[in-house]
């Protein structure tokens, strides 16, 4: 029974990681850059939804939509101002720029909303009781949202015209452009989707932690990136699987081994995994051509 409740909390935590990792993996797949600012977009999403619910008194679905809109705009603006001019630059320069954006968002949030943690009321309260097992509605909602997002993204990238354009761009930007695809617009769209997902993840994450501060997003951001690498970066089912597995490993490590070393165990599993399968669980290993 105990094991089952740990498993459920692990899966729901993993679902949050998976939603963040989906955004990460899409952006990486198309722009080939580590967007370190992604975690901070999550934090902005959390603050916007909190302010919408407390200061404006809006109901939570409206607050979530507002957070998604704000984060989408933020993501597109960041991409347009900071990343687009560096499209041809070496990837290390883009990485440092992403770190700069991350610092900027954290410090701007600190100035706007203060450095001290704010209490966050979970968007839905209560729990479902099955026998002796009690599952909070937030957990159930997180898992449901994660599955819906995963399926929607798979269908979108597989079937729709824009999704196909995305896949074409991630394969070969030059060839995609020759086929009449607007590469810049496609990349902007990817950032928009990733940032909207980050807003959703922000609301769910804050509902779990019940608190929020300007650095809330950085550690989940790093872990979600780990999850994306774990599952094979660039792969949507991989990000989903990686996120869930990472959440479960973290919950189990906390419950049975050591609370203090939970993150270390997660990272150690990642290292071992990468040594066995260097391209991640579902990633394709591409041999280099000479």
């Amino acid at each position: 029974m105990e094991f089952l409740s740990y498993l459920i909390s692990g899966v729901s935590l993993g679902s949050v990681y998976a939603i963040i990792a989906l955004g990460y993996t899409m952006v990486y797949g198309i722009a080939k850059m580590l967007n370190f600012a992604h975690g901070d977009v999550i934090m902005v999403g959390g603050y916007i939804s909190l302010l919408a619910m407390t200061s404006l008194g809006l109901p939570w679905p409206v607050a979530v939509i507002l957070a998604m809109v704000v984060c989408t705009v933020l993501g597109v603006v960041i991409e347009g101002l900071a990343y687009r001019p560096l499209r041809a630059a070496p990837s290390l320069a883009v990485l440092i720029t992403a770190i700069g954006v991350s610092y900027f968002l954290q410090n701007a949030a600190q100035l706007l909303w203060g450095a001290s943690p704010r209490a966050y009321t979970p968007i839905v309260s209560g729990a479902l009781s099955v026998g002796r097992l009690s599952i909070s509605y937030v957990s159930l909602m997180t898992i449901a949202v994660c599955i819906i997002v995963m399926i929607a993204l798979t269908v979108f990238t597989g079937k729709s015209k824009m999704g196909k354009a995305m896949r074409a761009c991630s394969e070969d930007k030059g060839a995609a452009q020759l086929m009449g695809i607007n590469v810049n617009r496609t990349i902007s769209l990817t950032f928009a989707i990733g940032s909207a997902l980050a807003a959703v993840a922000g609301v769910l994450l804050c509902s779990f932690n019940t608190s929020l501060m300007p650095t809330t997003g950085s550690m989940p951001g790093i872990k979600a990136f780990t999850a994306a690498v774990f599952g094979g970066i660039g792969s949507i089912p991989g990000a989903f699987l990686g996120g869930i597995l990472l959440g479960v490993i973290e919950a189990m490590a906390k419950a049975y081994i050591s609370t203090q070393l939970a993150n270390s165990i997660v990272f150690a599993v990642l290292i071992i995994m990468l040594l066995v399968r260097p391209a991640g669980l579902l990633g394709k290993f591409v041999p280099e051509k000479v």
């Binding site: 290390l92 990485l95 410090n107 780990t226 690498v229 260097p278």
Partner: protein, 376 residues
């Protein structure tokens, strides 16, 4: 791939120029040390600046050593602070353990730096063997992971010393405290778990920092200009071509990585012995990133660039104290603008016309040295 071959080809005739740059670097560091020492003895330096001298020396050594991994070897490392952490805490343990037996502070400092470097080198070897098999972003994420693991392990560490020798326990479940060490009455508590090292004897000095920088320069510059250094740079420029002419990939990658880790360990030991209280969380991901920023802004593969960037960017946030709340925001904006100005084609065209001279300092030319993440 074509660009890199070009940069390798025109390296040979520039050898004398490289030597000139090296000597200028040595001379610059010596001059800076002399000027700061003279100013200090005249009492012309503010107290806060004097407090920063040793950290600046440590960051310079960190930046040079990371430049060896990122700039010269071409592998992106996001966990360099982990090696600094290993060096800092092992150095503190060494210095505190010999407190009774060796009264001379400089001797203890030298021992601490050597122990720090050795422990970090061993860690570098343990990390490097599996990590260097990976490439690009995967390597970056694994170095990040190792940095976090090192941080959490040191957070669990409780160390004390008495006449029976060292006492070490790992506080895995959070239940153990310093009293579980069973120290005798004369024993000293050195590292107290999550609290970190407290009550450390601060024996680091600016002169020691200067000597460490000089030793680092001698090691790194001689390595880079040697046969081994050329092999390492060949691996960076084109791994497959280098392998096909018989360069041992693992050997040279490990050589650069372990040297880099050892130097970071020595810098860490000096840093650790400069503060009486130090927690493991000081050496987190943000510190690794900070040092990476020094390296990238100073120019990949440019040792003198790392020195200048580390100095300027350590002083800058302090100089911006007047802005108080806004200083980190300004820092972030400056960082983004500098990256945009030096790397985007449009800005470059405008920039080179107006402030051509300034650009060279912050040049981060990608075709000179590829970023580790560039080639997955």
């Amino acid at each position: 791939m074509g660009k890199k071959i070009k940069s390798a080809a025109n390296r040979a005739p520039r050898l004398s120029k490289a030597a000139k740059i090296d000597y200028a670097t040595y001379l610059g560091v010596i001059l800076a040390f002399a000027v700061v020492t003279v100013l200090g003895s005249q009492g012309m330096l503010t107290r806060s600046f004097q407090g920063q001298l040793v950290p600046i020396c440590c960051y310079i050594v960190m930046a040079i050593s990371l430049n060896l991994t990122v700039g010269v070897l071409g592998e992106l490392s996001l966990g360099h602070a982990g090696f600094m952490s290993v060096g800092a805490f092992s150095g503190i343990v060494a210095a505190m353990s010999f407190q009774a037996s060796i009264p001379s502070e400089p001797v203890r400092l030298v021992i601490a730096l050597c122990v720090g470097a050795a422990c970090a080198a061993v860690t570098g070897l343990i990390v490097g063997v599996p990590v260097l098999r990976l490439r690009g972003d995967y390597l970056a994420i694994v170095t990040l992971a190792f940095g976090e693991i090192i941080k959490e392990l040191i957070n669990c560490l409780i160390v004390g010393h008495d006449e029976n020798g060292l006492h070490v326990i790992f506080n895995f479940d959070g239940s153990k405290t310093i009293s579980d060490l069973g120290l005798t009455e004369n024993g000293i508590e050195i590292i107290k778990g999550a609290q970190g090292a407290t009550g450390t004897d601060t024996i680091a000095s600016f002169t020691a920092g200067f000597i460490l920088i000089m030793i680092t320069l001698v090691i790194v510059l001689n390595l880079v200009r040697s046969r081994s250094g050329r092999a390492i740079m060949a691996l960076r420029d084109n791994r497959i071509a280098a392998e096909s002419v018989g360069i041992n990939v693992t050997k040279y990658k490990l050589m650069a990585f372990v040297t880099s880790a050892a130097l970071a360990g020595a810098a860490g030991a000096l840093y650790g012995l400069n503060f009486s209280n130090l927690g493991a969380s000081k050496f987190n991901f943000n510190t690794s990133i900070l040092i990476l920023v020094f390296v990238v802004l100073g120019g990949l593969g440019k040792i003198w660039g790392s020195i200048i960037a580390a100095t300027v960017l350590t002083i800058l946030p302090e100089a911006l104290r007047g802005f108080e709340d806004y200083r980190m925001l300004v820092y972030a904006i400056v960082l983004i603008l500098v990256m945009l100005a030096t790397n985007s084609p449009q800005a470059k065209a405008v920039f080179s016309r107006s402030v051509g001279g300034v650009k060279g300092i912050f040049a981060c030319k990608g075709n000179k040295a590829k970023g580790g993440a560039a080639n997955g």
